[in-house]
Symmetry: C2
Subunit: 350 residues, 2 copies
């Protein structure tokens, strides 16, 4: 769980709550002009100008969302931020500030928390986001992280899940299923390690899918690319729970159905070969695996020419009338397979 085993470790109680927060956050300068007041008062102050504030929050629990047996703490901090930034990207807004709360048991030394905050800081720097608040407390059990993210956007720029219309094209960024396959490799090697701690994990050759799982990125770049193409999506969502589940969310909130073409689903060759190796259906990893943090959106069919050959996007289907339902058109046979939300569910997978 904790990379540097050589140094002497500091118990959290040595710093106390206020000392700990100060220690962990002292290297987080404010860089956005919208951040008027950061950590240290009763609340942070943000100046959105005449724009809208977009707000989202996620809670990550040890043993449910991550396993410290194979997730490095720095990656955990990084990914916890990314998950939230992805929600803001899915509103077509620009993430600007985060608040980070941690509940940690006393088995964590200060140095472990420093590694988490190193990861948080790396994400803040890369995405130009300011840490402006949070809370740090002890817990009687494992580690729980709660992150709230603030984004800012013009009213007319915001894209909800509810604007898709029949005949709109369904588009996805990047490729899918990789994060789930990376998790399978991590869990396989962790099980081997637990059975025999002398065994070396076999991670070689899985780099891409391991990175998709351990160090995902948020597609905050898509907003600019779409603006340059002069496209405003009619609806948008990020892929945290799996493609099928997200399509059903847009379907429900927009009041349309969808046809998804199996052969169009973008997948990396390593995702496909690893799924084959583990006797998993590759398409199911894309449909239900989740954690890819790509963006799924709909655009007017009139925008087809603007996007059709763009390397960042794949058109994977289209919207239909609501009563026509949500189906995947199977490769080859053209058979209609009902789309169901078998995505990752924090309660069902327990």
């Amino acid at each position: 769980m904790f990379e540097d085993q050589s140094q002497e470790l500091t118990p959290i109680s040595k710093l106390g709550e206020f000392g700990l927060i100060r220690h962990l956050t002292e290297h987080f300068p404010l860089s956005n002009e919208t951040s008027e007041l950061g950590i240290g008062d009763d609340a942070a102050v943000i100046n959105p100008g005449n724009k809208r504030i977009v707000l989202s929050t996620d809670l990550l629990a040890e043993g449910v969302h991550f396993n410290l047996g194979y997730v490095p703490l720095k990656h955990l901090g990084y990914k916890a931020v990314i998950v939230n930034l992805s929600d803001i990207a899915a509103m077509n807004a620009v993430p600007t500030q985060i608040l980070v709360s941690l509940a940690v048991s006393n088995r964590f030394p200060v140095e472990a928390l420093e590694e988490i905050y190193d990861g948080i800081q790396a994400a803040c720097k890369r995405y130009k986001v300011d840490l402006v608040g949070g809370d740090t407390t002890s817990s009687n059990s494992g580690l729980v992280m709660s992150i709230t993210v603030v984004g800012i956007e013009n009213e007319e720029g915001i894209v909800k899940r509810s604007g898709a219309k029949p005949n709109d094209l369904l588009v996805v960024t990047g490729d899918l299923g990789g994060a789930y396959m990376g998790l399978q490799i991590l869990e396989r090697e962790h099980a081997v390690f637990l059975a025999n701690p002398d065994m070396q994990p076999e991670m070689e050759g899985y780099d891409y899918i391991l990175e998709r799982q351990l160090k995902p990125e948020a597609r905050t770049d898509i907003k600019n690319i779409l603006e340059e193409l002069d496209i405003k999506p009619t609806s948008m969502i990020d892929i945290s729970d799996g493609l099928a589940s997200e399509i059903l969310h847009i379907s429900e909130q927009s009041g349309v159905g969808f046809r998804l073409y199996e052969e169009k689903i973008p997948m990396d060759s390593l995702t496909v070969s690893t799924a084959d190796e583990l006797n998993l259906n590759p398409v199911m990893t894309a449909l239900s695996g989740g954690e890819d943090y790509e963006l799924l959106f709909t655009i007017s069919p009139n925008d087809f020419d603007k996007i059709k050959n763009h390397p960042d996007f794949t058109i994977i289907g289209h919207a239909v009338d609501k009563q026509e339902g949500n189906f995947m058109v199977a490769r080859g046979s053209n058979q209609l397979v009902p789309l169901t939300a078998q995505g990752w569910d924090a309660f069902l997978n327990k």
Copy 2:
């Protein structure tokens, strides 16, 4: 922990994550015109007009911040909101929205979460605050709640901790120490119950301090009272960790010292008599007890006449030059007792 023992209980897995969020939040209508989009998309959307956004977050962990052995779930939900609203009141801003995240183990049935949300809803109604987002997930251990609160205020209305000047008067709302004494009674009776479950708890006559602990209120009323008096505080903080700790926060951030007069500290007679009963120093409960959620602020000495006889406020001291330090002037003797932050600390009290 859970009041209604008679009905059949529903496992969380029956609803799943999305179903659970929808079920728990379906009776939370949006009532603030600044709430443009609530639960159900990737993020909430807030329109602050030309005002500033004020943001704060708190994390409450079972066994650290609350004991479900004697805290009813509805009260827990209510208090978790209040704790956050109090931070916004301490910025002299108006709380408008909250986001609520819960991590719960599967030992909690859906009905237990409904009780927590009943408490959250009662607080939302009373304080006219909208629930606009959150996250609900399972945990391998106890209950963890994370609440983020949004407030809105004109730039010139916001009061930070950093504006106190020498000779400013130090003022507090309400009375102090009650919440801590209520906690002592709850813990005493819980210990009696654990030793002998047939014993009836002796709670009679302690109503006021029990309410201070179990169902505190946020002083969102103070902003209007001060405006009517034409007073803008020079600094402000809420009393969550104890009077001494909060004075030291203002001291540090404003660069001043303070003289606190022991005889001026407002305490309810039940707080004093219960402290006597339990052989505790009543003044220490005010200085270090915490959780009173009253407001502590400084005002210009020119405002003395406006506030001197007001029933909501007590002038308890004044600011001095920084090098004169922070001291309590003892009752009778005029001896100077150094103020130290022995307030509640989530890590030290473990």
